[in-house]
Symmetry: C2
Subunit: 207 residues, 2 copies
């Protein structure tokens, strides 16, 4: 990813926050029959990420242990009009741009067909997302009948993304004046994108 | 992308709608030094897409005319709790999933350094996004001083994405009963994701 110095996101806490807040990663691999991308929720675990795919998804056949994989996490994004920079009214020296943040995790994939590992991964993902979504009243794997769950587990493959390199970009008008940043953040708020406005006001750093 | 029959999006109008509504594409190429992704607003034009990158972005050096490129457009996504299916209370035969829609445009990239083409591309993108964002009061290229704009154009490279193949997926609980779909859509609405709820209620078809 092209990352000018102003937009380099090197704060590990901000990187982890973005991956946790926007967990549906775009997972891209270059297979022998071309580039293949899938959209898969990933959860950070230790120095890697865990997830699973359908057994019917050819991905786990196509990928070899040393094949490069790229998991892309993206936060909210929005068009930026030059009209929103207070400085524009003075100098007119402004052009449109786009604000966004993204984390690119490069690594390799290790698949597992072991039921114990699949159960562990699904349980961890479920506990995480249910507690986030429904709190103490969240769904548990034990709510489903055992035979049904066994069948569901038989139809997935778990995997771990081993990380080799992370690049991250927070493109949030850091190259503009404080007033211009506040001007754009204010427009984002008015237009219903409070999350992106908040990221701009903290300069992409973790809160 | 793995696309089970229930989730295959083959409606050209719905595909075009998603690309227009979520124009910041993730553009992936496999270069001689690995997989590289950039986040770039793309606008449909004829049977392809147009966009531009910074001159300082090595992408236009790294890409050859026949190198496969993949532009990924994604709409809103959200975790789906089994608790939101009315049928779950009866059968308990439900597991979590994730709802999302994505369009994968496979093709090749043709870069242009000609000022006339760069001006044409920037003007078309600007007119499109400004009229969408600010209506009749939108910013125009003519608002900026000529020398400033000339300098800005000298620092970008325009490109066209020639399309070879499009795959699209609308994973919106189409494999569940009508009541389950409405249950999940209702939860999304309550939780502030009206766009995804609307997509679910139309089954991913264009409106």
């Amino acid at each position: 990813m092209y990352i000018p110095a102003d937009f380099d996101q090197s704060d590990p806490a901000a990187i982890a926050e973005l991956c946790a807040a926007s967990p549906l990663a775009t997972l891209v691999v270059m297979t022998s029959h071309g580039m293949v991308a899938n959209h898969i929720p990933l959860l950070a675990e230790g120095d890697g990420f865990i997830g699973h795919v359908a057994l019917a998804n050819p991905l786990h056949h196509d990928v070899t242990p040393d094949m490069p994989a790229l998991a892309i996490f993206t936060a909210a994004d929005w068009y930026v009009s030059p009209n929103w920079y207070p400085s524009k009214a003075q100098t007119h020296r402004a052009v449109p741009t786009w604000n966004y943040s993204a984390v690119h995790v490069h690594g390799t994939l290790e698949f597992s067909h072991a039921e114990s590992e699949k159960r562990r991964v699904v349980s961890k993902l479920t506990t995480h997302f249910e507690s986030q979504t429904n709190g103490a009243g969240g769904w548990r794997m034990g709510d489903a009948p055992g035979d049904f769950l066994k069948d569901k587990l038989a139809n997935i493959v778990a995997f771990r993304l081993h990380v080799t390199r992370i690049e991250a970009k927070a493109k949030l008008n850091q190259n503009r004046s404080h007033d211009d940043v506040q001007g754009v953040a204010g427009e984002f708020e008015k237009r219903g994108n409070a999350g992106l406005a908040r990221a701009m006001r903290t300069g992409g750093q973790s809160e």
